[in-house]
Symmetry: C2
Subunit: 247 residues, 2 copies
């Protein structure tokens, strides 16, 4: 298992708890996996980050599964362009989680989508996986959820799929999209005007869909040309150049 | 909702059944979503393709959820390099599914991983979504499942993720991997020697993991240097050049 379980010659004390990084999927509570649901329901301690005191989306997705007596470890990350405050928040969160694991109790960390796909869980993984057993439970990502809701197959046969973060510089976005087949652009938010200009300049607007809050009641699915001026953080752009669904 | 529901000016007859394309995840039965599990348990008709009479992996994943009296529509795709025999199999399968939908009954099509991510469901979607209501239920893909099992975060912050099919020509694989950050190579199988040579030539072997049958009891996770000579179809290569898990 390599990285996840540290040095095979140094077995971990069996009395320690296990840290579970659990993907809760893209938003609809019934897109949680059976395994994740069972772990959350049985958890005595759950953990999740929040941003500047705002509500946690991951916790909201899993809310109906969390028992009333469950202890919650909240890592509040301050809003800042500096890295140090966020690092301090994850350092402190890792210390609090480690204290629970040392008592032999498991901790279930709730992650939107999938823990290893643009998720903050990897910051806890980096801090704790050398000393504790960590199990990652994969989840449905927003990429396939958006494709499902937009009715757009992502990739077939020998097609390529490229996932790009919206904050990338305009020149890099243009070059990456031009050389790609299917493209999913994550974290659109305030980068929508820049992304829209790049796709328009490449003549690809007609093949592009804008999706926000996929699988939630307030979901929006629109052709890019009809997308709003302002996009929320949980929005995505899907561009399918290849993805011919006919065999 | 665009493509998935056809022309908004021509409402579909409400008496027709719904075709569900349901992702059953990467292999472990408890990585099925709550929604998919409910649909499969309640299904009166399930459908899935098989290859030259072999057992269906998607059906095996969902086996414990399928009620004994459930009708099964099996689309057997003959082994052939030609496209016409497979096209005929999906044409015939679509006709049989349409007959059930016309009787007002729903059909739940079982798909390994996610229906729109290298899945054969899109061949049925292309044949039926103009005349019937189709709902796609996204599933956990093998990409995030392999990352979870290998303990390798896929992408963080502004990193890119590229998904490549193993059958791509050697030159193209080399160019795409050289220009990428994190890379997931699907459908490795008999292409393993070619892929290994490309990664070795790029000096990236030490950062690369080989995974087969992720999340199943017979799972294998190895550094690429220790991968077997012969790989099964359900194997993957993960290469993480970026994906620094530290914040």
């Amino acid at each position: 298992m390599g990285d996840a379980f540290g040095d095979a010659n140094a077995p971990l004390p069996p009395s320690r708890g296990v840290l579970y990084g659990v993907g809760v999927g893209p938003g609809a509570p019934d897109l949680i996996t059976l395994r994740a649901a069972r772990l959350i329901e049985q958890a005595q301690v759950v953990a999740y980050p929040t941003l500047a005191g705002a509500a946690s989306f991951a916790r909201a997705i899993a809310a109906d599964l969390i028992a009333p007596q469950t202890q919650e470890i909240i890592m509040d990350v301050p809003m800042s362009v500096e890295r140090a405050p966020a690092q301090a928040a994850y350092d402190e969160g890792a210390t609090r989680i480690a204290a629970v694991l040392d008592q032999g109790q498991d901790v279930v960390c709730l992650c939107e989508g999938d823990p290893f796909f643009y998720g903050s869980f990897m910051y806890l993984f980096a801090r704790l996986s050398d000393r504790y057993r960590v199990e990652v439970v994969p989840g449905v990502t927003s990429v396939t959820a958006c494709a499902a809701r937009a009715g757009r197959p992502l990739a077939a046969r020998n097609e390529r799929l490229t996932v790009l973060p919206g904050p990338l510089p305009e020149d890099e976005l243009r070059a990456r999209i031009a050389g790609a087949e299917s493209v999913a652009i994550m974290k659109v938010g305030r980068h929508l005007p820049k992304i829209r200009a790049v796709i328009e300049a490449l003549g690809l607007t007609a093949q592009t869909v804008y999706i926000e809050r996929a699988t939630l009641p307030e979901e929006v699915v629109l052709p890019l040309a009809e997308a709003p001026e302002a996009a929320p953080y949980f929005s995505m752009i899907l561009l399918t150049k290849g993805a011919d669904p006919w065999l």
